[in-house]
Amino acid sequence: MKEMLVLYDPNCGLCCRVKDWLLGQRKYVDLLFVPANSEEAWYRFPQLNHARTLAELTVITERGAVYRGPKAWLMCLWALGDYRAWSFRLASPELLPTAKQVIGMISQNRTKLEGVGKMLLKTDEKRAKT
């Protein structure tokens, strides 16, 4: 696998910050970011339920395998050179339920969590300034 498509919510500040962070990481698999429900997304995946991609993060591989929500997050970790081991740890039967809960909570409150994201994950613009 060479690359995966990440459908993210462009109107969510936290998501954009996470995206910037992901872009800056070393990768085993390239991540292409496409705004959810955008023209490009519709063009690439004509049969996909696009309404769902607005509600939760979606990752789609070159072959069309669709991962939603917590699974999509794990796939993003799996793509990273420094965090692949973590994707397996979190996907283990002992940790998966907790991981799903935490990720679900973050997703649901993503607009409220923007402030936290601002603090933890600096975007490129901010980095350039400091």
Binding site: Y28, Y43, R44, F45, P46, Q47, L48, I60, T61, E62, R63, G64, A65, V66, Y67, R68, K71, L74, M75, W78, R84, A85, S87, F88, L90, A91
Partner: protein, 135 residues
Amino acid sequence: MNTNWIVTTYLVYLAISIVLTIWVARTLHKNGRVFLVDVFHGNEQLADSVNHLLVVGFYLINLGYVSLALQIGYRVDTSQTSIEALSYKVGMVLLVLGGMHFVNLYVFSRMRRRSTLYDAPPPVAPDEFTAVREH
């Protein structure tokens, strides 16, 4: 008589240390190869090259230590002091060799883990499949 004792001690120390270093390096070289071939996906040439480089580093560090630790700072004029000095020096060399050996094992296992991670399939199964339009 004095000089004879100390020179003999030095020579015996060097002989033991060098033989030990060679023995450990050869063991590492022989048994590390299988490991590296696996790490580099059967690319034997690359495995042999990395193996060789590792062993060279191993030799350099160990012989460097052996050489630095040669000097005995007190009088050695009896068989007793000679044997005591020798056992202390050789003991230190053995500990350094052991330490280096474990560092090497750690490097091998790290390389192997990295390569198995690199090949690892996704941690979760997909939810569904969708058609992808080529562009």
